[in-house]
């Protein structure tokens, strides 16, 4: 489903964020992307979204070369997965409800579907009572859950989460992880960058560890493994 071949990313200031990364993620996988701060996890994800372009190498997603997408194809491509950004990226002048609905409006879902699905998502992340709040009226963890609800709204076949539990207490985080596990079992591929050692250790899923832009470990049923 996802295939990175010798992908490198050097930022404008000559910082090498990823160097010669090759990795394959298959349909239905549940992959944790771990690594110290600044290792290149978010860079990996941004490349996948085509938010940034690689300096060299090839990225193939669903048999499509991501670099060869035209400007017009990019939105369609991005809609093919759900994304939780590390910095949430909620629309600040839309309510929680509208933020989630927006993800469905861009794919022109019917009003009825939107209404039903958004409410379902809200109760899934425990925010039904915050539907009409604006992002700045939410706590950090609540914002993070809205971002997750939005990512799930269109029932994506691939879910990409960048640190989706960083602002959540362990209990809520576990609830979310169970939810993600269920989604994974129903067939959705999940790629999740995270620092949550507990979670990674307990879930026993595939772990890809990056350090200084290089994949140092790729382990089925792995653990976090950065304890000193």
């Amino acid at each position: 489903m996802i295939k990175f071949s010798n992908v490198s990313k050097v930022y404008k200031n000559n910082h090498i964020a990823l160097s010669n990364v090759s990795v394959t993620i298959n349909r239905g996988d549940f992959v944790f992307l771990v690594g110290p701060s600044g290792a290149g996890k978010s860079t990996f994800i941004k490349l996948l979204l085509r938010e940034i372009e690689p300096t060299s190498g090839e990225i193939i997603v669903n048999n499509v070369d991501v670099q060869k997408l035209t400007r017009k194809q990019i939105p369609m491509y991005r809609r093919s997965f759900g994304i939780v950004f590390q910095d949430f990226r909620l629309l600040s002048d839309k309510t929680v409800y509208e933020n989630i609905a927006f993800a469905m409006q861009i794919v022109e879902a019917s009003s009825r579907d939107i209404k039903k699905r958004v409410n379902q998502m809200l109760s899934l992340v425990g925010l039904s009572n915050k539907a009409n709040m604006y992002p700045h009226q939410l706590s950090g963890g609540e914002q993070q859950r809205v971002a997750l609800a939005r990512a799930l709204a269109n029932n994506p076949k691939l879910l990409i989460c960048d640190e989706p539990t960083g602002n959540l207490d362990p209990e809520t985080a576990w609830g979310i992880m169970e939810l993600l596990n269920d989604i994974n079992l129903s067939g959705t591929t999940i790629l999740m960058a995270t620092h949550a050692k507990d979670v990674v250790d307990k879930m026993k899923k595939r772990v890809i560890a990056i350090e200084k832009g290089v994949i140092v470990r790729d382990q089925q049923r792995g653990v976090y493994g950065y304890e000193d």
Binding site: L49, M76, R78, I83, L91, S92, D93, Q105, S110
Partner: protein, 306 residues
Amino acid sequence: MSEISKEVFTVMKIKTFKYFFKESISNIIKNRVMSFASITTVAAALFVLGIFMLLVANVNKMVTSVEDKVEIKAFLNDDVTTLKQNEIESEIKKIPAVKSIVFESKEDALEKFKNQLGENKDLANGLDLKNPLPASFIIKVDKVENVADTSNKIAKMEGIYKVKDGRDILDKVIRVINFIKASSLALIVILGAVGIFLISNTIRLTVYARKKEIGIMKYIGATDWFIRWPFLFEGMFLGLFGAIISILLLKFGYSYVVKVVATDVVIFSLIPAEYIINTLAWQFSIVGIVIGGLGSLISLRRFLVL
């Protein structure tokens, strides 16, 4: 264009269109500060432009009335018979540039002369017996530029003693008139350009302030047109509202000026308020909508290339 419209119209449903519409209204309300700034900028720019256009229209009207006063005076030989006189008249009328022709008899001329003397009228008393003043035709021409040509033609006719066309001052008048017209036009063009520039500046800022939101929309898979439509509508609304405000200001302001001029100044007669305002109303609404919409789209462009 064909490519764009294909993309737009095949994909867009009415429901989505309604959404864009509602979205644009809600954005205007949510971004009150910026909407206010844009609307008032449009209003202010068009208001000033409108003042200028009214000014120029009135100046042009006056200039035209000056042009109207330019006439050729063709004096007849004293021995011209009435028959001959009619012949000459119809010959003059044949010249395409001639707009009107009026006969002034010897008696009319004397009367006029006496009036010119005013308080010294008595001086001309002796002339009644043997009137030395010639009869003449007073001819008006369609354009000042044609005066010289026309008077040359008339001068060559039989029975014409002499032609007076004030050509010496005419040249100056034509230059002044042309200068006023050219500078009016230049001013309108400059003001229009400045206005468009100011409006698109403001709209650019309102779009700029939302560049982060635009980025987010792109990253979650919104197409360019999905992002553009609400901005397009928003720009059009802002432009329209601004235009309406400017028209109202102009309407009341100009009606007031017309009233003041009519009662206090009397000499000029200004172009009536209704006529101009009705024309301006349409022009400005269209200008507002077009600049607002285009301004939005153009400002958006740089944020969509991502």
